[in-house]
Amino acid sequence: MNKVNSIYIIDDDPITIFGIKKMLKTTAVCNDIQAFENGKVAIDDLRKRIREGTRLPEVIFLDINMPIMDGWEFLDEFIALELKEKVIINVITSSIDQYDYQKWNDFRLNCQHYLNFKNKPIYKIEPTDLNRLDMVS
């Protein structure tokens, strides 16, 4: 079991959120799992946490297709925050469009955070989706 302090799930589909939460129960120990229905509410919450100096998420599950602010737009704004800590961001999509993968790769190469690409359906959460230090050690 991985111990994670804070996890964000950003997805407009309640079933996916339900699924991720369910899978996390068996793989991670976390007292702070937050779900957001689009990028906008997530980034707003993050900014609030930064302002208040509370704990920031260590792992983010991020959907791409969402109304108001989609996954890519969220990533743009998230990277612009220039956080000191490296965050693991699991990009989750049902898209099999090569364009989406390409875009993910561009982000991966151009940011300091760890980016994973996960195609739906997801059946289990890998240790690397939660903790990168394990891999190094």
Binding site: I15, N65, P67, S94, S95, I96, I122
Partner: protein
Amino acid sequence: MKTIEKTHTQYLLKQLPKATVLVGKNHEVIDFSDSWLAIFNLKAKDAVGASIFQLILDDNTESHEQLKDCLLKNRTTTLRHKKENTQWLESAFAPWFDEKENILGTIIQTTDISGEVEKELELERIKTMLQAKSEIAKVGSWEYTLETEKLVWCDVTKRMHHVDEDFEPSVNEGIEFYKQGYSRNKISMLFHNALQNGIAFNERLIIQTATGEERWVMAGGKPIYEHGKITKLLGTFQDIHDQVIAETKIKESKQLLTTLIENLPINVFLKDKESRKILVNRSECEYIGASANEILGKTDFDFYDEKVAQISRDEDLEVMRTFKSILGKETICVKKDGTTTNFLTSKIPLINLEGQAYGIIGMSMDITHIKQKEDELRNLINITAVQNKKLVNFAHIVSHNLRSHTANFSMLLDFLVKEIDEKEKERIMEMLLHASDNLLETLENLNEVVEISTNINLDKKSLNLNESVIKVQQNLSALLQNNKVEVLNAVPKGIFVMCVPAYLESIILNLLTNAVKYKDPNRKPKIELRAEKQDKGVLFRISDNGLGIDLIRYGGKIFGMYKTFHNNKDARGLGLYIIKNQIEAMGGHISLKSEVGKGTTFNIFFNE
């Protein structure tokens, strides 16, 4: 007796018509005829006893030596010699004997032969010249004598037959040199006709030479009469092979060129300096709709629209002035009856040997149908590009939306299989039902879109826009009242649009609903509907004072499927996608202007 005889003899000698002189052993002149004195321009008293040499010789050393030689040798001989370089004389020398055969001297008889010699020389000259001429012109000759049946060929004629110089043909042999068939039959007939009826001939025929080569010749013949009867045939024989071949080739090339120009599927014409047509081919005649004779000598002004003719005339002048060809220029030609044709025209200057332009060669290819095809093709490409874009977009939507649902099914089923807890199982089952409903709804939405996109035969009707708005307003009266919306229907009553009734209703309904959904909570919602007649259709405007959309951020996605931009629970992200499809299916288009915090205006253009 002797004296008498002598006198008699002397007197006789004096009268001799032929110039005669008696010369003694010491070459002194003893006696002479008057005619001899005349030839040499002498007087009798000067001549007697004088040396013959002094009398008849002049400076011509050649003759001098020969004469001297003749006299000294005293033999019977004849000599031609010149006097004063102008006169030709012929002198016969004979020894002069007495009764006892003793030589007394020499008898010289002289004749003035200047005329003969000149004739001889002239003949020689003519012969030489004839020879030269016949060699150079390759003109040979032949002669047939009727009496002896002898045929004589000159050397040139023989050479033309490729036979040796000692070849002597018979008439039959001569005729057999002609190529079997027409040539041989013809020459036989002509030869016979000339002999029998005295008809001269000159004919082009083919011979087959001794080496088997076929050559074109010009054979001529002419009868020669003697005492009213034909005695001979004289003829010429000329090798005209190269000439005939060249002529044939020129004729063939000309024929080829004519055929080519005449049958080219493009319009060909030659114009003179004044742009009068001096040559037209069939295509040009067909295009103008007149015969070549009717066209020749006329200008474009006689057949085409004046403006078009002037443009063409200006082009002609420019080409002739600059010597620069116009090549493959797209032109439009309008005939007097208004028929318009697109041409690909070339104009090339005609330049004479002095380097002056004396007209132009023109070629025009009718590309009207190509132009039409091009336009159709461009149109088709545009349509295809739009369709393709739609299709890709749609495929993307289908794959994304259907995949997301099926992914959910897979995940939930995976959970269900592994789950032991009954309560949790129930929750998962609920989720599965929810997922199934979502999938059904998505399929319905997709079906709706497909129906619009595939409906080719739209049943468009002329609909009153104002009335259509009122109808939708009535349907939405509950929604509008609940949200306290102020609707201003400012659409002029006389405006009609060509639309599918259901589509028009859907368009107005969606836009009004959207305006209500995205109203600004801090303002009293207000919707204005306006319309105006435009060049080729009607512009319909729906403006609201709602939240507005950040066009910089969402501009490209507004009409996309499943795109929502506000936090609204009712948003399906389908309305704008569907009405855009409906409007485009009817040949119109939709756009919008919006400012966040101020409102949105949708502009819909309906095609006539």
